[in-house]
Subunit: 323 residues, 2 copies
C-alpha cells in the first residue's frame, strides 16, 4: 500500500568528470525518470554544481509526482569518502580540495545524502539488483577509462580505515621503471594496462614495435572500441591486444583471490563489451596463476546491469542501505 | 566471583608441522599452564594425534584445577577451515586428506572446539591481547618458515567464501619463470623471498653470484639467523639481504594497503627479530610505492606478543570469539 508519506523511492547520482547523471529509482531497480544533462565541468564553483543537481532533483521529483516519497539520495563520485560524505582532492573534477558533497546537497534538498567512491557504486548495485544478489564475498572490477574496484566481504563493502579501500587499479603489475607511467604518477599499475586507455596504449605499442599487418594501422586515434571492431574481423594484432590485457587482468585477479577468496569477481564497464575476446584470456590466466587452494572456487562473471543504468542504480542502492 | 561452574578459561592449541603446543589461558591473556611436548609427526594416525592432545588437555586441566571452567578450545592449524573445523589437504602434516579436527577433539574432550588457519591465529591474538587491540582494520603478516597472513576488516577476520582467505604469502612478486619456485609449485611468490627460508636463499644467491666479502662465506648451512648475526656486525652482504627482503615486502604491503586500507600492518614471526635491519627497508618501500591516497595512513608495526606465546594466545582467543 503506497500512501503519499511512504518513502519508497531513492535517487541515484553518478558524478563523472564529464557528465553527471541523476535518476529516481524504485525498490525493484526500475529507473522511473532520469536526467543525464549536467555537464560537470561547466560549473565555476562546487556550490553552483550542487545547485544544478538540486534543480534537476526537484524537476524529476515533480515530473514523477514523487514529492515526500524520496527516502534518500545516494551519490557515487570520484575520490569520495563514505565516512565523511566529502569528495577529497579529486583530480578528475574541476574543483580542488575537500568538497562537502553530502552536507551541501542534503541541506539544499532536505533529503538525506549518502556518498561513496564511484568504483564502489557498481558493487552496491550488483549486490542489490544484479549478478551478486545474495553473495557475501565478491569483487567488482570496473574497466573503463581507468580501473576501479568495489570489494564486498562478509556482505559489507570494504571501506578501510579512511573510506578509500579498494584501489585495485593501482596494484603494481610491472615493477621498476619499465612499468608504464600511470595517471597516479606511479609506474606499472594495473590501470595503465587493463583500462580502455591501457588497451589503446598496448595497441600503439604493438603497432610501433612490430611490422604485423593490422586493420588498426588505418585508424588515426585508436580507442579500445577500434580494437574490438578489428578483433571481430579476426585481426591478429587486435586479438593479441585483448589476450595481453586479459592475461594481465587474470594474473591480478589471481592475487586478489588470495586476499579475500571471493565467490565471484564481476567485471563491469565499457571494456567488458569486448566479451570473450577479453574474458577468455582472463579466465585462462586466473586458472593458470591461482594458488591450488582456491582453484575453481571463484566465478569470473560479467555484469548484467546495463552500463548506462548501473552507475545510477549502484548509487541509488546506497540510499536504501543508509536507512 | 569464580564458582566452579563459571567458564572463564580457554585452551589454545598451535598445531605445527614439527611440534604442537597447548596452553590454558585466562581472560587477561595469561598462560596458566602449557605443554609444548607433542611431536606432531610422531603419530601414525590422525586419531592417535588427537588422543595425545586430549591426554595433555586433561593433564593441564587437572594440574591447574580448571575442571568445568574451560569455555572452549581454539586451534590454529595449517590449511584449516574455520567454517567446517576440518584440516584440508595440509602438505606440512603427515596425514593426508580432510581431517575432522573440531569434531573429533570436541567429542573426545567434551569441550567446544573452534579451528582456524594457523596464520589467522596471530591476527586474533593481536586483536584480543596485542598491538591491534581496538583496531577494526589491520593485517598481520607472519614471517616464519613461510609467509602467512590474517586479515581483519570491519573488526572481523576475513575467511572468504571457503574459509581460506588471506594467503598473502602467495601473491606473485616476480612474474614468469625467473620468479623463484615456491613450495606451492608456482613461481615468484612473496613467500619464496620474504620468509626465513627466502632470506637464506637470497644469501646463497648473492654469495654465488658476487665476490663480495662476507662473514656468511664461512657459514655452512646459512639460516636467516646467521644473516641477522652477520648484519649486527655490519656485514654488507647481510645488510643487503635484509634490504632486498624488506624492500620486496614493502612493495607487497603497498599493494595490500590498496586493497583494504588498514590502520596497521603488523609483522609477526621469527624474521621480525631482525628488527630495524628488516623494518627500515619495509617502511621505505611502503612509502615509495604507496598510492598517494593512502600515504602515511597505515602504521607498519612489529608484534609485541612473545613468539612462543602468540600462537597459543591467538588460538585461545578464537575460543572466546566462538561463544
Amino acid at each position: 500500500m503506497v500512501t503519499d508519506v511512504e518513502k519508497n523511492l531513492v535517487i541515484g547520482i553518478d558524478v563523472g568528470g564529464t557528465g553527471t547523471k541523476i535518476g529516481i529509482v524504485d525498490a525493484r531497480g526500475e529507473i522511473l525518470a532520469r536526467d543525464e544533462g549536467i555537464a560537470t565541468g561547466s560549473y565555476p564553483t562546487f556550490e553552483a554544481f550542487v545547485d544544478a543537481m538540486n534543480t534537476v532533483i526537484g524537476r524529476l521529483i515533480k515530473a514523477t509526482g514523487s514529492e515526500g516519497r524520496i527516502r534518500g539520495i545516494g551519490v557515487g563520485a570520484p575520490d569520495s569518502n563514505y565516512y565523511t560524505g566529502n569528495i577529497e582532492h579529486a583530480f578528475n573534477l574541476p574543483w580542488k580540495g575537500v568538497l562537502p558533497l553530502a552536507d551541501m546537497l542534503s541541506q539544499k534538498s532536505g533529503i538525506p545524502v549518502y556518498v561513496t567512491n564511484d568504483a564502489n557504486a557498481p558493487a552496491i548495485g550488483e549486490m542489490t539488483y544484479g549478478t551478486a544478489k545474495g553473495m557475501k564475498n565478491f569483487i567488482v572490477i570496473t574497466l573503463g577509462t581507468g580501473v576501479g574496484s568495489g570489494i564486498v566481504i562478509n556482505g559489507q563493502l570494504v571501506y578501510g580505515c579512511d573510506g578509500f579501500a579498494g584501489e585495485l587499479g593501482h596494484v603494481t603489475m610491472v615493477r621498476g621503471k619499465e612499468g608504464r607511467l600511470c595517471g597516479c604518477g606511479r609506474h606499472g599499475c594495473l590501470e595503465a594496462y587493463c583500462s580502455a586507455t591501457g588497451v589503446a596504449r598496448t595497441a600503439r605499442e604493438i603497432l610501433a614495435t612490430t611490422n604485423e599487418q593490422s586493420l588498426l594501422r588505418d585508424v588515426k586515434e585508436i580507442t579500445s572500441r577500434d580494437v574490438y571492431e578489428a578483433a571481430k574481423q579476426g585481426d591478429h594484432v587486435a586479438l593479441k591486444i585483448f589476450d595481453r590485457t586479459g592475461t594481465m587482468l587474470g594474473e591480478a585477479i589471481a592475487d586478489f583471490i588470495a586476499f579475500s577468496s571471493p565467490e565471484a569477481v564481476i567485471l563491469f564497464g565499457g571494456l567488458t563489451r569486448a566479451g570473450a575476446f577479453l574474458l577468455d584470456p582472463v579466465k585462462r590466466a586466473v586458472d593458470k596463476n591461482i594458488l591450488h587452494t582456491f582453484k575453481g572456487k571463484t566465478q569470473i562473471l560479467v555484469s548484467q546491469l546495463r552500463d548506462s543504468d548501473a552507475a545510477i542504480l549502484g548509487a541509488s542502492a546506497l540510499a536504501w542501505e543508509g536507512n
